[in-house]
């Protein structure tokens, strides 16, 4: 069964959707979508390092994205530059450095499209293990920090005053995001992972009235996008990552019919 690339892609997609649902909720609640983008862009550097030194792609992406994330947290505390400018600075400079380094490596055959948009054909049994073990770890840690993370999301100072340690929780959450990007880069690609985080979550917001419900709907939305997207991409022969995101968008548009007029 694992011989079939479509089946492997499906198992990988399910694993990723289970993680992007809950993480995506926090990304949307905390207004971190640009932050997700920045981490994803920095992943290119990680991919290139993995090719150059022949190390595991997920490990290398995880290390580079985590470092960029921690650097960002550090810079936010020490400079007066607005957060979005800082994100743009890190995002595009890490992308640029990645591409410059790539220029030195002309001797290596490198599928840049696969890195940008994901490639289901490349998902091996080994990758499935990384996705499921990594994903389970991410979800377990998220479950552990859920309460303080949620409290800090609602009101940072209130959480800190009442002893929830939001600074430390923030760092852990950021590393979880980097880990998600590391396990999903082969499947979804670095340009589309933020879409996977945000679009099913936005859909879920239109349908839910409490946080737990939103997480569950967000997971369901992600799973549906993976199922329908993979099937469609196989049938009409389109790239799988972009097809999954397009399906997620269609689900979002359908969910809009459920929102009452606000103001």
């Amino acid at each position: 069964m694992f011989e079939d690339f479509l089946f492997r892609a499906l198992i990988a997609g399910i694993g990723i959707a289970l993680v992007t649902g809950p993480l995506g909720c926090f990304v949307v609640w905390r207004r971190l979508s640009f932050f997700g983008d920045t981490l994803a862009h920095s992943a290119l550097l990680g991919v290139i390092l993995s090719v150059t030194f022949d190390i595991n792609i997920s490990l290398s992406v995880f290390v580079v994205s985590s470092l960029v994330a921690l650097l960002l947290l550090k810079l936010q505390n020490t400079t007066n530059l607005a957060s979005d400018s800082l994100l743009g600075l890190l995002s595009h400079s890490s992308l640029a450095i990645g591409l410059v380094v790539l220029g030195f490596l002309s001797f290596i055959r490198f599928d840049i499209m696969g890195v940008l948009f994901g490639d289901i054909l490349s998902v091996s049994v080994n990758d499935l293990l990384i996705i499921w073990i990594g994903g389970a770890t991410i979800l377990f840690v998220l479950w552990l920090i859920w309460k303080p993370l949620f409290a800090a999301t609602v009101n940072y100072e209130l959480a800190e005053a009442e002893g929830m340690n939001p600074d430390r929780i923030n760092v852990i959450f950021t590393i979880l995001l980097a880990a998600l990007i590391a396990i999903s880069i082969k499947m979804v690609g670095l340009l589309l992972i933020t879409g996977m985080l945000i679009i099913p979550t936005a859909t879920a917001r239109n349908l839910s009235n409490n946080p737990k419900q939103m997480v569950i709907f967000s997971i369901i939305g992600g799973l549906l996008s993976v199922f329908i997207g993979l099937y469609t991409s196989f049938e009409i022969n389109t790239a799988s990552g972009p097809t999954i995101i397009t399906v997620a968008l269609i689900l979002f548009i359908l969910s809009l019919t459920n929102t009452q007029k606000k103001y």
Binding site: V28, W29, R31, K147, P148, F150, A151, T153, V154, N155, E157, L158, A159, E160, A161, E162, G163, M164, R205, S208, N209, N210, P211, Q213, M214, K262
Partner: protein, 249 residues
Amino acid sequence: MKDNNILVKLSNAGILKDNKWLVRGVNLEIHKGKIVTLIGPNGSGKTTTAKIALGLYKHIEGTVEKFTKKISYVPQKVIIDWTLPVRVSDFMVLTQDLKSDEISYALNLTGVEHLKNNNLRDLSGGEFQRVLLARAIAKRPELLVLDEPVQGVDYSGEVALYALIKKISETLKCGILLISHDLHVVMSATDHVVCLNGHVCCSGNPVDVAQDKNYKELFGEHSSQLLSIYEHDHNHTHSSDGNIVEAKK
């Protein structure tokens, strides 16, 4: 010598931001079962002082010592983003674990039990304040920091909530740091008043502060009379134009 009743102690505390002292030289102690009130004009550092007491600033001048971990905080402003669907019952367990009947009991105390399943964003300003206060008292804190807890609450509700706050401090033996603009309530229901204006102008029990020269300068002569409505000890009379005439001893 350590006083067992002391919850928080600020010694010469101050904070410098962008080369400006937001507040400086604050000495303050909060004791079990006592209400300390911060008053002062806008921008005088009331909220900043409360945040220093809570330990929210990392780099301060002076020291802040906390002797309790059971702290509840009602911030001046809580904004709930539209993307975040939170019901009142979700908000009640934000930093604590509560049983369903404990949630209802606390909401009932502040008169908003019927809103338990409403979304936070659908509440009015006054209702929201009542929920904030209910959440803060639900787990019986030892220290309660209230930053303008009754803003937007209707007048009768305001009186009831201040009575509740007073009752909480007595029954739970909980220390309260209160920021308020309602001078008349503050002056009648408080054990210790600290009048701020970037520094401590004057402090002491309400009767003394009301007679302080600095207090009168900040709030105007008429504010001293507010106290008399409640004290009724007739230490002065009024002349025909309403000015205070000190009673002859």
